[in-house]
Symmetry: C2
Subunit: 470 residues, 2 copies
C-alpha cells in the first residue's frame, strides 16, 4: 500500500513538469529497502556520540584563529583516518583573527551591581579603565534606528529585545540584527558603546556571543551582550526613572590574518567517483564553550553517517565527501572558500546538506531539487518518515556553509533539527557535551545515512540550477 | 461536613494525650473563616514580589561582611519603615569575614581546556601562580575516606558525586559533606587541593559555592567547586587513563571580624504584645547572584505576610516579629546570635517559622508542637489545604536560622516549599529574580499570613519544649 502511494505521488509530482523536461527515474523498492535497513542499523549505533565526545574532550573550544583551531584541524584529519576515510586533505582558508579578552561590567549608579557580559565577536576594546556612560534603552533595533540622535549621543545604547524559543528557531533572524548591526546604528547617532540583551532563549547568567560588524565609514564602538537576567536587572533599574550608569571593560582585539583549513575526507564512489554527495558541519566553534552543539554535533553526525555507509557490504557508487568547514562563526569563511576552490567541480556535486543546528531530533526533510526530481525527494522522505520526520517543501536552504555553493547552483537538502532549546546554549559557555542527547544524535545519523546513501544511488542528478535561479 | 471532620480529628488527637495534660482549646469556626478570608485576599496580592524585586535590584549580592551586607541592613530598615512596621531595630552579629577573589582553572594535560570553578566559602587562596597537580578522582567522600593515603598524597582530589533533584531537596544532605568536609579529609591524606563537583542539580557552566570548614589540627588546602559540565569533562578526560593535570588559582582571603546585624520589625500585638510569633528569612546571600531565591524570597514572603496582617481591620492580639537574619550562609551566625540575645524571652515565642528554601509553592505544612496542641496544627492545616498544601507531621525543623532557638525549646512550624529546581540555582550567579514565579510567591505569602494570624489567635501556647526534648 505504501509503495503504491509513493508511486502515485511520484506520478503526481512528475505531472507538474513541462513535457520538455526529462523526469528523474524513481528509486527502486530494493534501493528504498536497503536504505531502510541502513537507517535501522544506524539508529542503534553510537559512533556520532564517540566522535563528538572526542572532539569536545580532546580539543574543546576552537574559535577560528585560536590554538584550538589548529588542534581541531589535526584532530579532524586523525579522526577521518581512524574511520577509514580516503582522500583526506586540508584546504587553506584565510581570515582576519579576533581574540576575546577581559570582559567586566558593573552598574555604577543608582545601584552598584555586577553585570555578566560577553564581547560580541569583532568588537573593539574599550579604554583600559572601562567605558562609562549613561544607558539609553531601546526595546528593538528599529526603535534605535527611529530614535532622535540627540537622545543617543554620548550614551551607551541598550537594546532589550528578547528572543523567543521555537522549534525552527525562526525568532533568531528577527532578533540577531541588534547584534550584527546594533553598533553601526548606535554609532551613527554618536553612542559611545552598545550592550544588547543576549540573543538567547535561556535564563542563565551566561551571555551569548556572536559576530557583529563595523562599517568603514562609521565610527567603531565597543559592543557586548548581557545575559538575560542582567538585561532584566537593567530594565528594573531603568524603571526607577533615574540615570543608570554602566562601566564596562573589554580587551578584545583584532589580530593578523590567520590561515586555517577546511578538512575533507571521502568515501570514494565505485562507479562515479567524480560525482559528489557533499555533507558536513563546521569545525570551528566559539571560544566560550566546547562547541558540542555548535557544531561538534554536525561534524559528528555527518562523519558518522558517511562512516556507516562505508561499512555496508557494497561501497557507494558516488563519492561521499564530508567537509568540516573552517571558521563559520566569524563569517562563513570556510564555506565561501570551498565554493571558490571547487567552482570547477560544483556541477559534479549532486547535492549538499550541512548539519548546523545542534543535536535535536530531525523533524523535517526539505529539498531544493529541480522540478523533475522533486518526486525523488518524496521517495527519500518515505525512508525518513519512520524516524518521525515530516516532509517540508522544495525550498530548502541547505545550511550556512553551503550557501555559497548553493548560490553557484548546487542542489541542497535540509534535515531540520528540533531547535527548541538550541538557543538556550548557542554561542555560550554552556555549549557542552551534556547538552547532547545520544539517542537524538543517532536519529540524526540514521536520517543522514539513509538520505546520503539514496543520493549515491539515484540515476542522473537532482538539478544543477543555473546560478541565477532561486 | 468539613468542620465536623475537623472536630472529630481534634478529639482524636487530643485522645492520644495523657489525662494529666491540658488540651489546647480549638480554634473557632470564626477564626478559621477569618484566616481563610485573609488567605484569599493575600493570594491575589503582589507585595512579596515588590519586596524581592526591590532587594535584588537595589542591593543585589549581599554576602556577609561585604558592602552589599551593609546596604541590605539599611534597605531592610527602610523597607520595614515604609511598610509600617514598629520596633524596627538592628542587633549586632559578629563573624569572621571572607572574600572571594580571582578563580581560574585549566586542565594542563592531556588536553588544555578551561574549567569553570568557584571557590568554596572559607577556602584559603592558592599560590599566586596557581596550584598545579595531578587529579585523583573519587566518586564520593566516602571513597576518599576509604582511599589509600599514598594514592592521594601530593595530588588534587576530585569528588564527582552528582546531586539529584527532589521536591524536598533530600539529596542535598547526602551530597554536601563533600563540600563541607572534603578539604579536611583530603588534607588528612596529604592532598594539595580539592575540587568537587558542584552541589547542584543543573547542567549550567556556572559553579555552586557554599561554605566549607577547616580543622585546626589539619593542614588547610584550597577548595573549589567545578560546574557540572566541567566535572563531566574531567571524568571524560580521566577515562583516557592518562594523568590529568589541573592548575587552579584562587585569591580568596579571610579578613578581620565584621559586625553585621539581624534586622527586626514588628506588628505589635494588641492583647499580648510580649508574646511573639517569629517569622523571617536571612538577609545575606552568597556573592555570586543577587540572592533572589536564597533568601530574598524568604525575606519578602515573611515581610509581606506580616504586612498583610497589619492591614486587617483588627490588629493581631500577639506580636508578629519578622527577623531578617545576618550571615546565614557562612555559618548561621545571625540565627545563633538571635537565640543568645533573646534567650530570656524565648519562652514567650509562641512559634517560629523561617522561609529559606526558595520561592516554589508550599506543598506541606508540618509542626513541632507539644502533643496537646497537635490538633491545632491540623486545624491550621485545614485553612492551608485549599492552597494545595498537605499535612506533614509533628517533626518540623523550622528552618536553619531558628534551629538554635528551637534547640532552646521554641515550638516551630515548617511550610515546605517545592524545591525541585532550587538546587539548579542555589549558591550560584543564577540566583536572580527571574527564577521566582510571582504566583508561587503569593501562594507562599497567603499560607504564611493564614498560619501566622491563627497563631496570634490561639489560646495558650503550643508548647515551649524543655531544651532536652526532641
Amino acid at each position: 500500500m505504501k509503495h503504491l502511494l509513493m508511486s502515485l505521488l511520484f506520478v503526481l509530482c512528475q505531472s507538474e513538469l513541462s513535457m520538455a523536461e526529462e523526469m528523474s527515474k524513481p528509486l527502486t523498492d530494493n534501493q528504498l529497502q536497503t536504505a531502510a535497513t541502513l537507517r535501522d542499523s544506524v539508529l542503534v549505533s553510537n559512533e556520532a556520540w564517540s566522535i563528538v565526545e572526542s572532539l569536545t574532550t580532546e580539543v574543546g573550544a576552537r574559535a577560528g584563529g585560536s590554538a584550538g583551531d589548529a588542534l581541531a584541524v589535526q584532530w579532524a584529519q586523525d579522526k577521518f583516518k581512524s574511520l577509514g576515510f580516503k582522500n583526506i586533505r586540508i584546504e587553506p582558508v584565510t581570515f582576519p583573527s579576533w581574540k576575546r579578552g577581559i570582559e567586566v561590567a558593573h552598574v555604577i549608579a543608582p545601584f552598584k551591581q555586577r553585570l555578566v557580559i560577553t564581547a560580541l565577536g569583532n568588537s573593539i576594546a574599550t579604554p583600559d579603565n572601562g567605558l562609562q556612560g549613561e544607558i539609553i534603552h531601546y526595546s528593538t533595533l528599529t526603535d534605535l534606528i527611529n530614535a532622535d540622535a540627540d537622545d543617543v549621543a554620548g550614551k551607551i545604547v541598550f537594546i532589550s529585545k528578547r528572543m523567543k524559543a521555537f522549534r525552527d528557531g525562526h525568532d533568531y533572524g528577527k532578533t540577531v540584527p541588534a547584534r550584527s548591526s546594533g553598533a553601526k546604528e548606535a554609532a551613527k547617532k554618536d553612542a559611545i558603546g552598545i550592550l544588547i540583551r543576549s540573543v538567547g532563549t535561556d535564563s542563565n547568567r551566561v551571555a551569548h556571543t556572536g559576530n557583529m560588524s563595523y562599517d568603514k565609514d562609521i565610527k567603531k564602538i565597543p559592543a557586548a551582550a548581557l545575559s538575560n537576567p542582567d538585561a532584566d536587572l537593567l530594565i528594573n533599574m531603568l524603571k526607577r526613572k533615574v540615570p543608570v550608569i554602566v562601566n564596562f571593560t573589554l580587551t578584545s582585539e583584532a589580530g593578523e590574518d590567520y590561515t586555517s583549513y577546511n578538512v575533507i575526507g571521502e568515501i570514494v564512489g565505485t562507479e562515479k567517483p567524480e560525482e559528489i554527495i557533499l555533507i558536513g558541519g563546521h569545525l570551528d566553534s566559539w571560544d566560550l564553550g566546547t562547541g558540542a552543539i555548535d557544531d561538534g554535533a554536525g561534524v559528528a553526525i555527518t562523519m558518522a553517517a558517511a562512516y556507516k555507509i562505508s561499512l555496508m557490504p557494497t561501497q557507494p557508487k558516488r563519492t561521499i565527501r564530508v567537509v568540516l568547514f573552517a571558521n563559520e562563526e566569524q563569517g562563513l569563511f570556510g564555506g565561501e572558500q570551498y565554493a571558490i576552490a571547487h567552482l570547477d567541480e560544483l556541477q559534479k556535486h549532486i547535492v549538499g546538506a550541512e548539519s548546523d543546528f545542534g543535536a535535536g531530533k530531525i523533524w523535517k526533510f526539505s529539498t531544493k531539487f529541480k522540478p523533475s526530481a522533486k518526486a525523488l525527494g518524496h521517495q527519500i522522505h518515505s525512508v525518513l518518515e519512520p524516524l518521525g520526520i515530516e516532509y517540508g517543501d522544495n525550498k530548502a536552504g541547505g545550511g550556512p556553509d553551503i550557501i555559497h555553493s548553493k548560490k553557484a547552483g548546487m542542489a541542497v537538502a535540509t534535515l531540520s533539527q528540533d531547535g527548541i532549546d538550541y538557543f538556550d546554549y548557542h554561542h555560550t559557555a554552556n555549549d557542552t557535551l551534556d547538552k547532547i542527547n545520544p539517542e537524538n544524535l543517532s536519529q540524526n545519523v540514521a536520517a543522514y545515512a539513509a538520505f546520503v546513501w539514496l543520493m549515491t544511488e539515484i540515476e542522473g542528478d537532482v538539478g544543477f540550477f543555473p546560478p541565477d535561479s532561486k
